[in-house]
């Protein structure tokens, strides 16, 4: 509970004694490139393969000839939009970006770079962490969309290439019974998960004490805490948004 209290106080500290808008604008852009653009390849790779594998496995389980083949892509779509793109990719995002944030900020702490900011009269938590959170909340939903598209393309390519489903059936399945609200749910999840991952990871890194070993421990704790937060929040959000 004391950790949670410190986390809340830490979040509060991000909003006081801020620097100029211009300073944050530059930092947010840099973070967007670091967080977003540099994650595209990994997201594309993982999403495409998961989409392809999901298609093959769904087809494998469709043994009843009375079930139309377009159901395969319908299942892939539902899994992708509701769970794969926002949630599963969030776990990967926590591993890649969360660990990088915790490690980077933790290293700054133990090498006195954060102290140097404080001595200059800069609110170090706000200067270092706020741009990361804003950039995450901007970029992760875009990555969710990108990931969803890659997953469906992966499913389409593999499904049609090995004749599990025809192109027409796959597209029909994607369109059949589509509820646009699911996209909103995925994007809301994306924004919330991005906030949790970036803030928890930064918090863990910011309060690192000691040396290189402790930075490693903080990084591991950041990923673990982020993953737990994502899974709990996923459950609550699904209950709230889809009930």
């Amino acid at each position: 509970m004391s950790s949670f209290g410190r986390y809340v106080i830490f979040l509060g500290s991000l909003l006081v004694r801020r620097e100029s808008f211009k300073t944050y604008y530059k930092l947010v852009l840099e973070e967007c490139i670091q967080i977003g653009v540099n994650s595209i390849f990994l997201f594309m790779l993982v999403s495409t393969f998961i989409g392809a594998v999901t298609t093959v496995q769904t087809a494998f389980n469709m043994v009843n000839p009375l079930i139309p083949r377009f159901v395969i892509s319908q299942v892939v779509r539902e899994m992708t939009v509701l769970e794969l793109a926002p949630t599963v990719m969030a776990l990967i995002y926590a591993g890649k970006i969360g660990s990088s944030m915790a490690g980077g900020i933790g290293t700054m702490r133990i090498t006195e770079q954060i102290d140097a900011l404080e001595v200059m009269g800069i609110n170090s938590s706000s200067y270092l962490v706020l741009p990361k959170i804003i950039a995450s909340m901007l970029m992760y939903p875009l990555l969710v969309i990108f990931s969803g598209v890659c997953s469906l393309v992966g499913g389409y390519v593999v499904g049609t290439a090995i004749h599990l489903v025809t192109p027409t059936e796959f597209v029909a399945g994607l369109r059949f019974g589509f509820n646009p609200t699911e996209i909103s749910v995925a994007l809301i999840k994306g924004v919330v998960f991005a906030f949790l991952i970036s803030s928890i990871s930064s918090f863990k890194g910011y309060f690192t004490k000691g040396g290189a070993l402790e930075v490693g421990i903080a990084t591991t704790e950041a990923v673990t805490a982020s993953v737990i937060a994502i899974l709990l929040m996923d459950y609550f959000l699904v209950n709230i948004l889809l009930s």
Binding site: V16, R17, T107, E112, Q113, D115, V119, M120, G121, Y127
Partner: protein, 250 residues
């Protein structure tokens, strides 16, 4: 001038600083000396506000820093330059960006003005044409000099140096000491240096405070340090074989 009154600090059961009083004068190189673990760095961090003392107050030219509100503290801190033990340069930035950083964040200077100022500071610390080098590409001594350049770029009124010559060879150490000393006089600022290096003490110590187990045991000038009459200080000063021989020959 910086004045500290009755500064005490404990970490758990361990009392690191106990009732330290001192005045650090403007235009002088003030040294805080003592063996490892005597609380020198903690005292420095209490003075700059990185650690909050359990008791006591710090005054920057009569402004009460310890009890100041956040805005006031921020204002005072913008008059501070600090050289950290490891340099504390930002890895993500090159040399020029590191030195320019305080100007970027704290001033409204134009890009050309900032670049001129950065080049002036680099020239002052004896480094030129390394603007675009990454921090990882420069030596330990150069990092210290870049750290000094960053500390003075915003024309501070107070300069703090935490072990400025740790990890450096004797020649580079002397260069760094002399640089700090010259800058102090040129800019007429209050400089506080934490060190346990006797070369620094004898070379630049205009006012010296000796800490022993969290207490201030002695203060004075470097010319007085060899005959202070304080056994703990004598042990510290003459721990070095050369100094010990010098004492025996006196």
């Amino acid at each position: 001038m910086i004045k500290i009154k009755n500064i005490s600090k404990s970490f758990g059961e361990k009392k690191v600083l106990q009732g330290i009083n001192a005045e650090f004068e403007k235009g002088k190189t003030n040294l805080i000396i003592g063996s490892s673990g005597t609380g020198k760095s903690v005292l420095l961090k209490c003075i700059v506000g990185l650690i909050t003392p359990d008791e006591g107050r710090v005054y920057y030219d009569l402004r009460n820093f310890t009890e100041a509100d956040k805005d006031m503290r921020s204002e005072i801190r913008r008059e501070i330059g600090m050289l950290f033990q490891g340099g504390a340069l930002f890895d993500s930035k090159n040399v020029q960006e590191n030195i320019m950083f305080p100007l970027d964040v704290l001033t409204k200077m134009t890009a050309d003005e900032k670049l001129d100022r950065v080049n002036d500071c680099l020239k002052r610390v004896g480094l030129e044409n390394i603007n675009k080098k990454r921090v990882s590409e420069i030596s330990g001594g150069m990092k210290k000099r870049v750290g000094i350049a960053r500390a003075i770029v915003n024309n501070p009124n107070y300069l703090f140096c935490d072990e400025p010559n740790s990890g450096l060879d004797p020649q580079t150490s002397i260069l760094i000491d002399e640089l700090i000393h010259e800058i102090t006089h040129e800019l007429d600022i209050t400089t506080i240096v934490v060190t346990h290096d006797m070369n620094s003490v004898m070379g630049i110590g205009e006012k010296i405070i000796f800490l022993y187990q969290g207490h201030k045991l002695w203060e004075g000038h470097h010319e007085e340090i060899t005959h202070s009459g304080v056994p703990e200080l004598d042990d510290f000063v003459f721990a070095n074989k050369v100094m010990s021989k010098m004492r025996n020959s006196l």
